[in-house]
């Protein structure tokens, strides 16, 4: 019975992530539209896009590694979802822990790098080089934040971290007890989502969407699916670390959406940083904030 339950959870959790992620993508596009005084896409637009892309008749593959790259990009996140507790479902959270999760969240970028490599498009190579550099940038504050939270609660088990915060109530949430780390975390979540001002690796007008340049049909569809997972992962992970996770589905969704909405509201007001400026900026502010936060919680 236990194994059956677990299997069910492992199937349900990515599905939930996908559906919630679709609405997060919609929210992002709506926010962008509202900031630009437009109406924005209809409710099911992200779903239409994905079905359309998978339904393309001509699929242009550049070889096996191209295919595998997309599978890794989506698969990495699907695996990550099973480690992120949602209300009522813990999945593998108590077995995996934060460190496995941090590793799994890097797989999509690496998979993408593999796939783009085989496309042999110079724009793609430039894009993925920039994407990996950006990953190097935001992963450092991210790792500091994860280390800080694990230190503070004395565990890397996400389910325990959430339980501890919920037992302490809103005053005991990570955001209240570790405000500097929470700020640094928000910063790196923003960079992780790859939106302005940190979207130099996509840069549609200059390098033709970088890593996505040779992706059409189901490949682009796979990347759209990956994006839904990416939004969900970032939102839920942050909510679990700093906002006490979700006591029930309502608070869970409100928190996750709020976390994603904050960077989105900032993003569309900005142009983008160059890669080296992005590195300087991220290695200076969020890293300093994170280190100061670490110092605070250790003393």
């Amino acid at each position: 019975m236990d194994a059956l339950n677990l299997a069910l959870e492992l199937i349900l959790m990515p599905l939930v992530a996908f559906v919630v992620g679709l609405f997060m993508v919609l929210m992002m596009r709506k926010i962008a539209a509202r900031i630009q005084r437009r109406v924005g896409p209809p409710l099911l637009q992200p779903l239409y896009d994905i079905i359309k892309l998978y339904g393309k008749q001509t699929q242009i593959s550049h070889g096996l590694v191209h295919d595998i790259g997309i599978v890794m990009a989506v698969g990495g996140y699907v695996a990550a979802e099973t480690l992120l507790p949602v209300p009522g479902m813990d999945g593998l959270a108590d077995r995996g822990g934060l460190i496995t999760l941090a590793y799994l969240m890097m797989i999509p970028s690496l998979g993408l790098a593999l796939g783009v490599g085989q496309c042999a498009n110079p724009n793609g190579s430039i894009g993925i080089a920039r994407a990996l550099t950006a990953m190097l940038a935001y992963d450092i504050p991210f790792v500091i934040v994860i280390f800080g939270v694990a230190w503070h609660y004395g565990t890397t088990n996400l389910a325990d971290i959430i339980a501890l915060q919920q037992a302490a109530g809103p005053g005991g949430w990570g955001a209240a007890t570790m405000p500097l780390l929470a700020l640094a975390g928000l910063f790196s979540v923003h960079a992780m989502l790859g939106k302005q001002p940190f979207e130099i690796y996509v840069a549609p007008a200059e390098i033709a969407t970088g890593p996505m340049v040779e992706m059409g049909g189901k490949f682009l569809g796979g990347l759209f699916v990956m994006q839904t997972f990416q939004f969900y992962t970032a939102g839920v992970l942050y909510a679990s670390l700093f906002l006490g996770g979700g006591e029930n589905w309502l608070t869970f969704l409100v928190k996750a959406f709020a976390v994603v909405a904050i960077p989105m509201c900032i993003a569309f007001l900005f142009p983008r940083y160059r890669t080296e400026d992005l590195l300087k900026m991220i290695w200076k502010w969020p890293v300093l904030l994170g280190l100061a936060g670490l110092w605070l919680i250790m003393h």
Partner: protein, 243 residues
């Protein structure tokens, strides 16, 4: 704005859509696919002529194409619509054809502006290609010099309707009658004209090859065709590279 079929220039392409698939489930699935295709259009705007200037208002806050599910995309691989906005010079037409062949089907071509319909005010120019659908299967023309954003949006809505009802499948015509299109292209660009895309091979692969896919013009192409080769990897300084 009008369908091709109402414009008195060579109406082409067979009207029928796909043969209807059997089974309730597949039919529902096909309907869903067609609906999603019509509601999600990524467009590649090839801004060749003055007509392009009416696109920004159609995309931005005043008319907002995104509410219809139409968004700009930047590479042919990702795009569904190729928007040709204005006169096409012979040089540009080569690039348009290259771009078109790299797009994944189903793909649609929209000719905006009178210049794409019949040459417009460049009718007497030696340097422009006049009737766009002699070189590419155009799905829809939006006439005007230049068409206002309202006309562009209405045209887009017409295309969406055509896609939903399965009428917009002119892209298959490019495979079915490749010889015809290639002939017109060769007339303009000379007989050594070729693109890196293997259109005949694709037609075979997707089962779209017809009796008119190959013919005298493709035979001519095959005489000149240089197969695509991977780029050579070379390391070292510039001097050493000299053969």
């Amino acid at each position: 704005m009008s369908d091709l079929k109402q414009i008195p220039i060579h109406a082409e392409g067979d009207a029928g859509g796909d043969p209807k698939s059997e089974g309730l489930f597949t039919r529902v699935f096909d309907e869903l696919k067609a609906f999603c295709r019509s509601r999600s259009l990524f467009m590649l705007h090839y801004c060749t002529g003055c007509g392009a200037i009416e696109l920004p208002p159609a995309m931005t806050s005043r008319f907002d194409m995104e509410r219809l599910g139409i968004q700009p995309m930047v590479t042919p691989r990702q795009a569904d619509i190729l928007l040709v906005t204005g006169y096409v010079s012979i040089k540009t037409l080569k690039r348009i054809i290259l771009t078109y062949e790299q797009m994944g089907g189903p793909k649609y071509v929209i000719g905006i502006c009178s210049c794409t319909v019949n040459g417009g005010m460049y009718w007497q120019s030696y340097a422009t290609a006049k009737v766009l659908n002699e070189y590419l299967p155009v799905d829809l023309y939006i006439a005007g010099c230049m068409p206002r954003p309202e006309a562009v949006i209405t045209g887009m809505r017409q295309l969406m309707e055509n896609i939903r009802t399965g009428k917009a499948d002119n892209w298959k015509d490019y495979y079915r009658r490749y010889d015809h299109y290639l002939g017109n292209q060769q007339q303009l660009f000379g007989e050594r004209w070729q693109t890196p895309t293997d259109v005949i091979g694709e037609a075979d692969h997707y089962g779209l090859a017809g009796p008119e896919t190959t013919g005298p013009h493709t035979a001519l192409l095959q005489q000149h065709q240089v197969p695509l080769q991977p780029l050579e990897m070379r390391l070292g300084s510039r001097q050493e590279r000299k053969p």
